[in-house]
């Protein structure tokens, strides 16, 4: 589904990603871990098409298409979803109105009829149950005055509505208490299928107790320096990242 080859990217001339290679197949969950500043969130942003990041080398193929050649909105319409670490507030625009605009633009791109108000609302009802989100929250301005947990839950709700092929969760666990974490993870797990894939970017192992990864990759200094199964995450939880840093740093000297 997703094939990243030798991906290099920089921000304002400073290289952040220095040759990422990653293969993600349908049905898989990949966790990207790593110390602060290793490039985890940059990778998520580059895949979604954020403009500040300049791709200097490499390629990303998503379902046979050159992802890097697509505008951010077209990547979304092709089925790439990014759950933001810091969801943005848009005053005066209700979540409902926002999502309806989004969903219908995605549908138009895929050659589908726009959903009318009735069908849209019944779809919303169905997906609301999935992430235990309140209707009242959705009639308020998007993310404005939402608590941290409400914002993250709203991200997963949007993901449920848009039914992406590839979901990238960027530090979705940050700022969540244990109940919110459970609700958000449940939502993600229910949305998983053998046709979709998930990339979970996280600093802590905690989230991976709930969303169990098939593969764990450790990012350090813009490269994947170690890959393994979920046991690797446990090892990292126990030993921290220092041993990996040492391993890598001594090898490059």
């Amino acid at each position: 589904m997703l094939s990243i080859k030798n991906l290099h990217a920089s921000v304002e001339g400073t290289p952040i990603l220095r040759g990422i290679n990653l293969e993600v197949k349908a049905g898989e969950v990949h966790a990207i871990m790593g110390p602060n500043g290793s490039g985890k969130s940059t990778l998520a942003s580059v895949l979604a098409g954020r403009e500040e990041y300049e791709v200097t080398d490499g390629e990303v193929i998503f379902q046979g298409k050159d992802l890097l050649d697509l505008a951010p909105e077209d990547r979304a319409r092709e089925g790439v979803f990014l759950a933001f670490q810091y969801p943005v507030e848009i005053p005066g625009v209700s979540s409902t109105n926002f999502l309806r605009t989004a969903l219908n633009q995605v549908r138009e791109y895929r050659g589908l009829e726009p959903l009318d108000a009735v069908k849209f609302l019944s779809l919303m009802k169905e997906k609301m149950a999935l992430v235990e989100i309140d209707q009242k929250l959705l009639s308020r301005s998007l993310n404005e005055g939402f608590s941290g947990g409400e914002k993250k839950r709203n991200e997963i709700f949007q993901m449920a509505m848009l039914e992406p092929t590839l979901s990238i969760l960027d530090e979705t666990d940050s700022g969540l208490d244990i109940d919110a974490l459970r609700i958000v993870s449940n939502g993600v797990n229910k949305l998983k299928s053998d046709k979709t894939a998930t990339i979970v970017v996280t600093h802590y192992q905690r989230l991976l107790d709930y969303i169990v990864p098939d593969y764990v990759h450790v990012l350090y200094k813009g490269r994947i320096v170690k890959s393994g199964t979920k046991e690797l995450a446990l090892e990292l939880e126990e030993k921290g990242y220092d041993w990996i840093k040492e391993e890598v740093d001594s090898a490059t000297v």
């Binding site: 403009e51 505008a71 909105e73 979803f81 990014l82 005066g92 926002f98 999502l99 989004a102």
Partner: protein
């Protein structure tokens, strides 16, 4: 990247939708401004002697008035002697019914999306169509007359209801109020007149659609709305003009009189030609709008969506004379490219327990300058007066400006006055967030801006709110890369 540029190019090259003009034989006054021209206009309109005298008095005062320079706008001086002060299509005859109106003139309005055919029109809106200096047609006159409502062109009102016109003309905006109001009083040509009798709730929206067609002509219309005791009316004004290289002057006066327990809602969707991308051409919109809540418990509410004009200078105001009267001002002013807007309101509290509310939303893009200027004045005997003002500015890009000039003048210790102001920038983060959900950039901008302006747009009558939303999006297209 290349695709982005292409979209940007397409959007920025999009032209002003109503920039076309039509050739028709016009009955025009010669260029220039002097007493003879004023006599000429008055004679053309077969006006009574008192009105001519009124005009001449305004003109003589105006000649000694300096052109105001306090507004935060800059523009080359207008050569008022080079303008023509009257221009009317020759096809206009003294028609009594809509059927007799020249189809060519009706076609001009059809092209603007304004149907003057009563059968085809949405129920619930009566239109007075003003082209250059004259009213072309007024719809639903008969239906309204049955309720005692007068809705007609100003010229017709002078002929048919001289006592009303004489009583109220200049009663809210005195002829010598300011430079442009005085000029308007001297040379005004047409406009709308509306009278709602005691206890009548006007069953449909009344609207005037102003269109400037002729070149080198100023449009000076005058609107007078009188709402008698316990009556209600909602009024809407729309305007467009052809795309011309030279600047054109539009100096209107609107007066509203509300008696006890009367309510008048006045909405404007202003879409005059704003000038081109380089700031060439466009309308100078120098307008005086004022309402008086003369009776107790009366209410006047102004809502404006200002998207057009090269230079806007406009402060719809309320004089809250009656006890318990209410004044409201809701405004969205958008400027793009080289547009300049200096707009706001005045709330003058005279009566006891009077209330006013100001919500102003400025949006600046391109190289434009957008100023809010507002005055809240509480007079000595206005016990328990209350005002709430909120002035927000939204900036798009880094070459535009937003300015706020609030003036507060309190002469009664029981007054409560609140002022809130915010300035924000449309964030790349917000746009990217929308993009990531599949929303294209121009739609994202429209969504964000409409959300920002929602509180004001909600005040507009339903169908105009939809129009206004589209207009906002259109005005700002291409302003974010």
């Amino acid at each position: 990247m290349s695709k982005d540029n292409q979209i940007l190019e397409e959007l920025t090259s999009k032209e002003y939708e109503h920039g076309w003009s039509v050739n028709y034989e016009a009955d025009e006054a010669p260029a220039g401004l002097n007493e003879d021209i004023i006599r000429w206009i008055s004679a053309k309109k077969e006006e009574p002697e008192w009105l001519l005298e009124w005009r001449l008095k305004a003109f003589r005062t105006w000649m000694n008035m300096p052109e105001p320079e306090w507004a935060n706008v800059t523009y080359p001086k207008i050569d008022l002697q080079a303008l023509k002060y009257y221009s009317a299509p020759k096809q206009i005859k003294k028609t009594k019914s809509l059927e007799e109106v020249d189809p060519e003139l009706i076609a001009i309005y059809e092209r603007l999306g304004i149907s003057l055919n009563e059968q085809k029109r949405l129920q619930g809106i009566a239109v007075d169509a003003v082209l250059d200096s004259v009213s072309v047609a007024t719809t639903f006159k008969g239906t309204l007359a049955k309720l005692g409502i007068v809705f007609c062109s100003f010229s017709e009102a002078v002929k048919e209801h001289p006592e009303l016109v004489k009583k109220y003309l200049g009663s809210v905006v005195p002829m010598t109020d300011n430079y442009y109001a005085a000029l308007n009083s001297a040379v005004f040509s047409d406009g709308s007149f509306c009278y709602i009798p005691k206890g009548v709730r006007c069953p449909m929206e009344l609207s005037t659609y102003f269109r400037i067609n002729a070149a080198n002509t100023g449009q000076f219309e005058r609107t007078l709305i009188v709402a008698e005791e316990s009556s209600y009316v909602s009024y809407l004004e729309g305007c467009t003009a052809p795309q011309r290289d030279e600047n054109q002057l539009h100096a209107a006066v609107v007066e509203i009189y509300a008696a006890a327990h009367a309510e008048v809602k006045y909405s404007t969707v202003q879409n005059w030609f704003p000038g081109d991308k380089e700031g060439k051409g466009g309308i100078y919109n120098f307008v005086t709008k004022r309402g008086i809540c003369a009776g107790d418990h009366s209410k006047i509410s102004w809502t404006q969506v200002e998207t057009g004009s090269a230079v806007t200078w406009k402060y719809p105001s309320c004089i809250l004379k009656g006890d318990y009267s209410i004044g409201e001002f809701y405004s969205v002013a958008v400027t793009n490219n080289y547009q300049q807007a200096d707009t706001g309101t005045k709330m003058i509290h005279i009566g006891k327990n009077t209330k006013s509310r100001i919500v102003s939303k400025g949006i600046s893009a391109g190289k434009s300058q957008n100023s809010y200027r507002g005055q809240v004045q509480v007079m000595k005997r206005a016990d328990n007066a209350r005002n709430f003002s909120q002035c927000d500015s939204l900036l798009m890009g880094d070459q535009c400006g937003a300015h706020t000039f609030p003036y507060i003048d309190i002469n009664n210790p029981s007054a409560k006055v609140e002022h809130e102001a915010t300035t924000s920038k449309i964030g790349e983060d917000q746009i990217f967030y929308c993009n990531q959900r599949g929303i294209a950039t121009e739609d994202a901008v429209a969504l964000i801006v409409n959300g920002y302006a929602k509180e004001v747009l909600n005040q507009l009558p339903m169908e105009f709110a939809v129009e206004a939303q589209k207009l906002l999006a259109l005005t700002l297209e291409g302003s974010v890369g």
